[in-house]
């Protein structure tokens, strides 16, 4: 309970900071970067629920991101359906696919689960690429409409910034509630020992499937937000490498940590932007930074920063 209160305070502080940022920052480029950080945070959080808390790895998470983006793109562009109707359709599609893929796949564990989800991600990506009449194929899908409520359009970066971060904040609160509930305890139990979790009466198969479906729903929502932000999507954004990037955000930020998702997503979104200046060396430095973080902060950024903070406080007390 105390944890929940603390979290609520943190959420307030975070919301205030986000609001101030949204109001004060004028530079369109910064706003855009922060919108992408928000979308990536949602993605990382979705995978963190599955991987960090329930301990089930997925190397195909970008598939759900893509399913969200492509479903809304096809419905709202090709069929002229309102994006607000396309949204539930996109989320529902992702959830249904997660359900049918998850049922057999989640029986696997460890490396085998990694391979299973990897295969799923690759298949979905091939469908995006090859089903040209519907998805536009490798050259991508253009002309996705912006989001509007009546005459109010989310057509400026500032408005979109508030939309995305509002959604992120909403899921911070929802996820925290799940984690602190009976369900959250069951998820961590599955992580720590599936056999033991079953022995105390947790329906492990059902619970894993539930969290997989929730995770897919959140990822597809991120895909929806992405598609209506840049109006153009292509299969590359949802490839195997994208899945790996989401896993990296979770691991770098901190497993089983909501704020870790934010830190991991921020670092992995900002790094490439900062490193543009290094041109040819960009990817090398990128890799090096990730290596250093893992070597010196093996528990991820969140735990690492907290440890450093606590240590310095202890020193000051002396």
């Amino acid at each position: 309970m105390i944890r929940t209160d603390k979290h609520l305070i943190a959420c307030f502080v975070f919301a205030a900071a986000a609001t101030a940022t949204g109001l004060l920052v004028e530079n369109a480029y910064y706003l855009q970067v922060m919108i992408f950080i928000g979308i990536n945070t949602l993605l990382a959080l979705s995978l963190n629920m599955l991987m960090g808390y329930a301990g089930q790895i997925s190397l195909g998470h970008a598939a759900f991101y893509g399913i969200g983006a492509y479903t809304t793109a096809i419905l709202s562009t090709t069929y002229n359906i309102s994006p607000w109707l396309a949204l539930p359709a996109a989320v529902f599609t992702a959830m249904a696919i997660a359900y049918f893929v998850g049922r057999p796949t989640l029986r696997l564990t460890g490396y085998y689960l990694a391979m299973g989800t990897l295969g799923f991600g690759i298949i979905v990506n091939i469908i995006f690429r090859e089903w040209r009449s519907v998805t536009g194929g490798a050259s991508g899908f253009v002309g996705i409409p912006p989001l509007e409520i009546g005459s109010f359009a989310f057509d400026t970066d500032r408005r979109y910034f508030f939309l995305v971060w509002g959604v992120v904040l909403f899921f911070f609160i929802i996820c925290r509630r799940i984690i602190d509930s009976r369900v959250g305890r069951a998820l961590r139990a599955i992580h720590d020992g599936e056999h033991a979790a079953a022995a105390v009466g947790v329906d492990t198969a059902k619970m894993k499937l539930k969290i997989f479906v929730l995770s897919a729903a959140m990822a597809s929502l991120a895909g929806f937000l992405y598609a209506h932000q840049i109006f153009f999507i292509s299969p590359g954004t949802f490839s195997f490498l994208a899945s790996i990037r989401i896993v990296t955000m979770v691991v770098i930020g901190g497993m089983a940590s909501i704020w870790g998702s934010l830190l991991g997503a921020s670092l992995l979104t900002l790094l490439p932007e900062w490193l543009h200046a290094f041109a040819d060396y960009e990817m090398m430095i990128y890799g090096l930074v990730l290596m250093l973080v893992m070597i010196f902060l093996p528990q991820g950024l969140t735990r690492g920063i907290l440890d450093i903070y606590e240590n310095s406080r202890k020193k000051n007390d002396k």
């Binding site: 305890r185 069951a186 720590d192 033991a196 022995a199 105390v200 329906d203």
Partner: protein
């Protein structure tokens, strides 16, 4: 006491050493709480339990002893729903457990303290205990769970002192207490324990056996798997001896403690001492 032969086929030459059944404390007309008949358990093609029949009456402590790999844990897994691949009959309070998954078994009143404790190490002691009440913890049951928590902490005060500590940092004995406490949180009527004395000092084993006796006096029925045959038989009413998936001997605890074969195989007496006693 009845000796049974390995093959399960009647063989009049071997092992027909039937001793008088001296346990008359339990009248025979009590319908057993747990009745297992001709249980066969499979891991793929391998049959690990080969047609076991046993019963546990309400209020009893029953000990299962036997060598490594004789199928004791397999039997426990079958009863608790963790291993669904078995044939035969397991009746709990008259209800067949066939096809029930672990949550359903826990709900019906059976809790397992698994072999090797299997606590959740990074989680706090408190969270571990609350997880024990997982199948009961709906909104309405809050108070009920709180009460169970008090009962458990009264039994193991040390757990209360360690409430917020990660369970993995407890000592082996404390972890075993936590594992027992966790399974009591589900308010079982039948408690299955798989080697609770594993790796514990004699004094701690004694403490745990005392707790089991106390629980029995409060109305709990207990099925206890033990390598530490002496400790188990000391508190048990009856016992079964397993060998490679079959029951080879059953009888009252006193009879088993006195039985020469049991002494030699499970009570760690050396031959000299053993000869002395038989002189």
């Amino acid at each position: 006491m009845k000796y049974r032969n390995d093959s399960g086929i009647n063989d009049n030459r071997a092992e027909k050493r039937v001793l008088p059944f001296t346990d008359n404390r339990q009248p025979d007309n009590i319908y057993p709480m747990l009745r297992i008949r001709n249980l066969k358990c499979f891991y793929g093609q391998i049959m690990a339990v080969k047609g076991i029949t046993l019963s546990v009456k309400e209020g009893e402590i029953i000990a299962l002893i036997g060598a490594n790999g004789s199928g004791k844990s397999t039997l426990m897994a079958s009863v608790s729903g963790l291993l669904p691949t078995w044939t035969g009959e397991i009746l709990f309070e008259g209800k067949n457990l066939k096809g029930m998954d672990p949550p359903a078994v826990v709900k019906s009143g059976i809790s397992l303290v698994p072999e090797g404790r299997l606590i959740f190490p990074p989680m706090s002691v408190y969270d571990n205990l609350v997880l024990g009440a997982y199948t009961r913890l709906r909104k309405k049951a809050r108070e009920d769970v709180q009460q169970a928590m008090e009962t458990v902490t009264a039994l193991f005060p040390i757990l209360k002192e360690r409430f917020s500590q990660p369970a993995g940092t407890l000592s082996g004995g404390e972890q075993q207490m936590l594992a027992i406490g966790r399974s009591l949180m589900a308010r079982p009527r039948l408690l299955l324990l798989d080697e609770p004395s594993m790796g514990l000092a004699p004094l701690v084993v004694e403490k745990i056996m005392d707790v089991l006796e106390l629980l029995r006096s409060q109305g709990l029925t207990i099925l206890l798997v033990e390598q530490n045959a002496r400790a188990a038989l000391t508190i048990a009413d009856r016992g079964y001896v397993f060998e490679t998936g079959s029951v080879v001997l059953e009888g009252s605890a006193d009879e088993l403690l006195a039985d020469t074969n049991v002494k030699r195989a499970y009570l760690g007496k050396d031959y000299e001492e053993f000869d002395d006693e038989n002189r």
